[in-house]
Amino acid sequence: MKQTNDVMKKFRRRILRGAILKSALAALIIASGVLLVTALASWIFGFKEGIWLAIGLFALSFAGAALLFFFFKYRPTAKDVASKIDAIGLEERLITMMELEGDDSYIARLQRADAKAALAKADHTLIKVAASVALCAVVGVSALFGVGALTVDSLYVAGVIPSAVEAAEYAAAEHDFNVSYTVAQKGGKIYYRGEDGIMVDEEYNKLEVTGKIVVHEGEDAPSVIAVPDPGYAFAGWSDGLYDPIREDKGITSSLSVRATFVETVSLNDLLDDGDGNGDHQDSDSNSEPDPDAPPNQDNGNAPSDETPSSPNQDASGSHSDSNKQVNDGNTYYGDEYGGAYDSAMDRLGSGSDIPGDLQGGVSDYMDSIGKGGSGDGSGGGN
């Protein structure tokens, strides 16, 4: 029997390797499951140390499951070994030999000798150390999920992605943003605007924008309009827009903009003081410059002898005086009408009318502030 065992050793070794391989693969399925659960739990609940716990549990469960699988499922018994060897062409010689162990009849001895002879000639490499395709497939899928969960957890630990709870909370929360429309300095007000113009309350008072407006994420802010006080003109918004009517749509972040108004000079004053040297100074013209003012706006405090820095400044520098800027009340036309101003002045000086396009702009402005206007340039003055 010892001889038989010696001969069977090389077969048993291969069968044992196969059993170890299968145990390891089966254990990998279990360990991958543990890794998946632990890593996912760590990520879901935002437990940053959980990644080490997941890796540790993976290793532990792999080792434990491998041992359990080996000892309780895959470890080959002597009968299993005999059956597997028989399956490579020994035609049930070994399993019969095992059953006849202890039988000393002639036929039993003959059978044993036959089995040993066959075993000695059998090729042990025919016993494949392999696992079934199904087992490998399950291992592959489970490992993929396990590694995937670990990757997600790693990204969370690295701060690349939020935890599932955080993400869920963020997704579940309503996101409101504050929108504020304020006036940078005196010179005008900001009103809510409806389809028919400025909105009014029951007593026909214009509804002025005061304080912060709360807007849900993705929704539109209410339409507002910047209306200058008499003697002032709207100069633009602090975010660079020049249209006094604002319609901020699809709000995705808080918004805070200021409307800037500038003091205007009437055409009569200009005609009276046609040299444009800027003696019509506003009391606030020397105040602090407004950082949100349009780029070509000097807030009325630029020195007259400063070298022109914008297209609507003439070579003499007189155009830097805010009193000599032209605004139609809706739009600051400094750049656009820089030349038009001189032209208009020349024409006015020579007794001709203001050009039609300028008249239209003045007329629109008058309409928007509800005063109406002839557009002849004299109605909008103070």
Partner: protein, 391 residues
């Protein structure tokens, strides 16, 4: 108790039997081997084949090879049971008293050729039942034992069914094997014609006696069967029953009545003989696969669905075997020949040396272990279907 002498004799006699039969019967290896296996195992054989393929010649040859008395009964519709079993006749003794005297029928022989057995009426057919199973004949209340060894080798023609009486299940079950006798191949046909043109004389000689045949049976019966193999054999039988817990899908679909317990006995007995003929001292799953066809094909009753779909008994057996194989993986992954490094033919000698070493030389003479090279070769050729599968 089997002795080395028995093993040696078995080997020598098997070789002689096949050699002598081959002198008179050209080709038909499967049928010859199946018949010899059944005879050694003590079973009856039903041979099915068209006329002229050598069924009767084979039976006659077997009688001569085993040196056993041979009777031929031509079954016809008007054949009576007494024509088979014998009858009592009234004779007068010396004193003038009349008394019955039993005149034995042709069944009182060792080898019975029941030619065209399905032409006789069921009544006459049933006269064989007792003889086939119990090896006794009862006439007028007196049972008489038949000579041993006793075999019934019946033939039937599968083509002409007019005026035939299909054998009842009870009788079918008493045949260990149903062997299909195929048409000879072209080469075999040429050999047959060449041989018979020279002489019609049968030249096979005695290879063993009836007593030796009985001894061979005893020897084969001693071949051990592993518990797993036995269990698988019984599972195979049970799997043919559509209502059993082991029933296969094929059985549920195509079989009306499954194989009887006699099939289990038959497949094990036959597999033992086959194993020993192959030079192996244990039964393998492969032996079971080979024996499954001749043992089961006449014992399973197909249902209407099988007949409508032209599914034969052999097809159903193949399906059952395949289903069991998928479930239990008992078909050897590698056939024996592929597993051995040594060249074919060295195996028997090597094995014998091992036996001699292991038994301190006591089994030295088993150097001639009954490795039937021709059978092994045939097995390889037949592949998975085995020796006795469908053509």
């Amino acid at each position: 108790m089997v002795t080395e002498q028995d093993i040696k004799q078995f080997s020598q006699q098997c070789t002689q039997i096949f050699k002598q039969i081959a002198r008179d019967v050209i080709g038909q290896e499967k049928v010859v081997q199946g018949t010899v296996i059944a005879m050694i195992a003590g079973g009856n054989v039903l041979l099915e084949g068209v006329p002229g393929v050598g069924k009767t010649r084979l039976v006659r040859t077997l009688g001569r090879v085993f040196d056993l008395p041979f009777s031929r009964i031509q079954f016809t519709p008007d054949l009576m049971p007494a024509d088979v079993t014998g009858t009592n006749i009234i004779i007068k003794d010396d004193k003038g008293n009349s008394q019955f005297n039993f005149q034995p029928g042709p069944i009182f022989s060792n080898i019975i050729l029941a030619d065209e057995i399905n032409r006789a009426t069921p009544k006459t057919q049933s006269a064989l039942l007792e003889a086939m199973q119990e090896h006794t004949v009862t006439v007028m209340g007196v049972s008489r034992k038949l000579n041993e060894p006793f075999f019934v080798l019946a033939t039937q023609n599968p083509i002409e069914q007019d005026g035939t009486y299909p054998l009842p299940e009870a009788q079918m079950d008493r045949f260990m094997f149903k062997l299909l006798v195929p048409d000879p191949s072209l080469d075999e046909l040429m050999q047959i014609v060449s041989l018979t043109q020279k002489t019609m004389e049968e030249v096979a000689e005695r290879a063993c006696t009836g007593e030796e045949l009985l001894r061979m049976r005893t020897t084969a019966n001693q071949i051990p069967v592993a518990e797993d193999v036995l269990k698988y054999a019984m599972m195979l039988i049970s799997a043919t029953h559509p209502d059993s817990e082991c029933a296969t899908e094929a059985a549920k679909k195509y079989i009306r009545v499954g194989a009887s317990p006699r099939a289990g006995q038959a497949i094990i007995s036959a597999s033992k003989v086959l194993a020993l003929i192959k030079g192996r001292f244990n039964v393998s799953y492969y032996d079971l696969f080979e024996m499954a066809y001749p043992v089961l094909r006449h014992r399973i009753k197909l249902n209407f669905e099988a007949i409508a779909e032209r599914v034969s008994a052999d097809d159903v057996i193949t399906m059952v075997l395949e289903e069991l194989d998928k479930k239990y993986h008992r078909r050897p992954a590698v056939h024996a020949e592929e597993a051995f490094i040594v060249k074919e033919g060295d195996g028997a000698e090597e094995t014998a040396e091992e036996v001699a070493e292991g038994d301190g030389g006591a089994a030295e003479e088993t150097a001639e272990a009954p490795a039937e090279a021709a059978t092994e070769e045939e097995t390889k050729k037949k592949g998975k279907r085995g020796l006795f599968g469908r053509k």
